[in-house]
Symmetry: C2
Subunit: 375 residues, 2 copies
């Protein structure tokens, strides 16, 4: 199999695979990069056992085959090749040449490499591995996943919370994450053709978000199979497919922790509030990052006290309801506010019960539940 393609195209597109392919693995074959030909495309593929990734590039291809090349030197070399064009010749070795540089890389046998199954990019009958399909805008899916990701747990305890739950239904698509102490969700009000819940490991969510960001615009096909979420997305001549292993089980009923009645509602500009939170929290106790908020008469008073001393700052806010004093872990509050640009709405059910944080513009779809510290 012989391939000729522009160096820059190859160098740009290996970045996604470079993230996924591990440098060490209990299956050493997973440290290799796959190269294959399909018609006039060069196919690059790789897997970390949790996420399988395939990138198709337009190239001049002669012959066919599937080969495994050592990914580490391949990635390093491709970025720095001297020519504008790369020539790959694959047989018993990979012969790579570009400008006056030539190299021979030894190959690994395909035997023992897992079979990678991806959803077909177009609607076809009988894609048995991925029977349930839908399509979303790349931006929407990226936003839904990246805005809730932070709330996923890092603890071994209650493993299901180490994932992001996707809920497909006739009402739309919801992404939700929680670590049991706080919760973030994003609602996309676009009716889905099937009803199902699927929990994607948070680390795999990061890879998916990275691919969606790299693609940027257009449409992404989401397809669900037995224990697998597939994605297919393409722009220009480059097409990317992913298959992500799902977690078993689903989140316990979280709806009941989302408060409904709010004696106090506050509207404020998110960014100045975050800046004040960051400043004042410098003084906060290093253990619990406690920051005190007092809302009254059109203003918010932020204060914190720790080993170094005390700090406070005042902000003008728009307030409706009963004045209230509450304490939070400043980090949790900052993380809950992070996805919000422009105006935010803070909804307080009481100093000992969960609060809701969301963009003032309801159409945004994001909301977060944060629990105050006990005073």
């Amino acid at each position: 199999m012989n391939v000729i393609l522009p160096k820059n195209l190859l160098a740009e597109q290996i970045a996604l695979l470079e993230r996924v392919i591990p440098s060490r693995s209990s299956n050493p074959l997973l440290t290799y990069l796959g190269l294959a030909a399909a018609g006039e495309d060069l196919i690059l593929f790789g897997s970390n056992g949790e996420v399988d990734l395939e990138v198709r590039l337009p190239a001049q291809v002669m012959g066919e085959g599937r080969y495994l090349v050592p990914s580490q030197p391949f990635f390093q070399l491709v970025r720095s090749l001297p020519g504008e064009v790369v020539e790959l010749s694959l047989e018993s070795e990979l012969l790579l040449s570009s400008g006056r540089f030539r190299t021979r890389l030894s190959l690994a046998p395909m035997e023992g490499y897992p079979e990678l199954l991806f959803p077909s990019p177009e609607e076809v009958s009988g894609d048995e591995a991925f029977p349930e399909r839908t399509a979303l805008s790349v931006e929407d899916l990226q936003k839904a996943l990246s805005q809730v990701r932070y709330a996923a747990s890092n603890e071994e305890y209650r493993a299901i919370f180490r994932g992001v739950q996707l809920e497909f239904s006739g009402k739309g698509l919801r992404a939700v994450a929680s670590d049991g102490y706080r919760l973030a969700l994003f609602d996309l009000p676009k009716p889905q053709p099937f009803a199902r819940k699927a929990v994607v490991p948070a680390r795999s969510v990061d890879e998916v978000v990275r691919v969606l960001k790299a693609v940027g615009t257009g449409e992404v096909v989401l397809a669900l199979g037995q224990g697998t979420l597939g994605l297919a997305v393409g722009q220009g001549g480059v097409r990317v497919r992913l298959a992500v292993r799902l977690m078993e089980g689903e989140f316990p009923d979280y709806e009941r922790v989302i408060p409904k009645d709010f004696p106090l509602k506050v509207a404020l500009e998110a960014e100045p509030f975050r800046e004040a939170l960051r400043r004042v929290s410098v003084l906060a106790d290093k253990q619990n990052h406690r920051i005190d908020l007092l809302f009254q008469e059109g203003r918010a008073l932020l204060s914190a006290e720790g080993d170094y001393g005390k700090g406070q700052e005042e902000l003008a806010v728009s307030l409706s309801g009963t004045p209230m004093g509450l304490a939070y872990n400043a980090r949790y509050l900052l993380e809950a506010l992070a996805p919000i640009s422009g105006e935010a709405e803070l909804l307080f059910s009481g100093p000992q019960s969960p609060s809701l944080v969301r963009p003032l513009a309801e159409a945004e779809g994001y909301q977060a539940v944060v629990v105050p510290l006990r005073v």
Copy 2:
């Protein structure tokens, strides 16, 4: 003591102190930032026990005193203050306010804090702590130090090589560093008013270079005292002084390892050669990073072979003398070439004896000795 000054001025200038002041220290007082007043200047000072640093800023100052404030929250806060002006009021506590933000920070007692001695910025009679003085351009000193720094040792073995030696003499100033396997030196042909050798710990060299880079231009006063190198440098209203603890002893005679006779001289463009070295060395053995160079008939052939396979590249070079094949640790060769922009000259005394690397333009002052690998 009360101080008012522009936030941006303070925020910019604390960056130098932030580098030097340690976050942990066997003397906890060293983790504090010093604040003092001198006439119309605010003085900021700090030390890590090896490097003492003082920064003077023009400010509105009332009263006097010397205070120690906890550096970590101070640095964090100053960067993010909401106002354009900072007000500091120091008595039993530090009261800091800016815009609608206010904080109280507790202070540490000055007792137990080391006395910091800096050279006087102007020529005065009787600066007893720093009897030997000279002045250099900031750019020259920065270049001399930063171009040889890489060759200093990281090993405990032969501790003196963990420093950069400065040699002041009637011929000029030389900076030299070595780890016993390679050597870099920089000659500044500006006669110095005294003769002395002083070895500055490489980590302190990094701090000095950082200060010189921040200052950028102008003149720096270098002053030598008993076991201490002092520096004084200023621009605009901001003046910076350093006192750096010297190492005891001096380098063994290194002149004898610098080769004098060269059967082969090669001239080449440094950057394309470095790029080719980087590419080919991707294939090199991970243990010794061996790369083979063959110089003949106006070309250099670079090749390497390791676990992944083989790589090679050819470069056109200008060659005079006997064709020769040699092997190097690619990393050492790359580091020796790094300070050279434009054309480099490689001078080979033989495949088993030291080689010299220097800019083709002799006036540059930099040269490096690299030893070939045994073939």
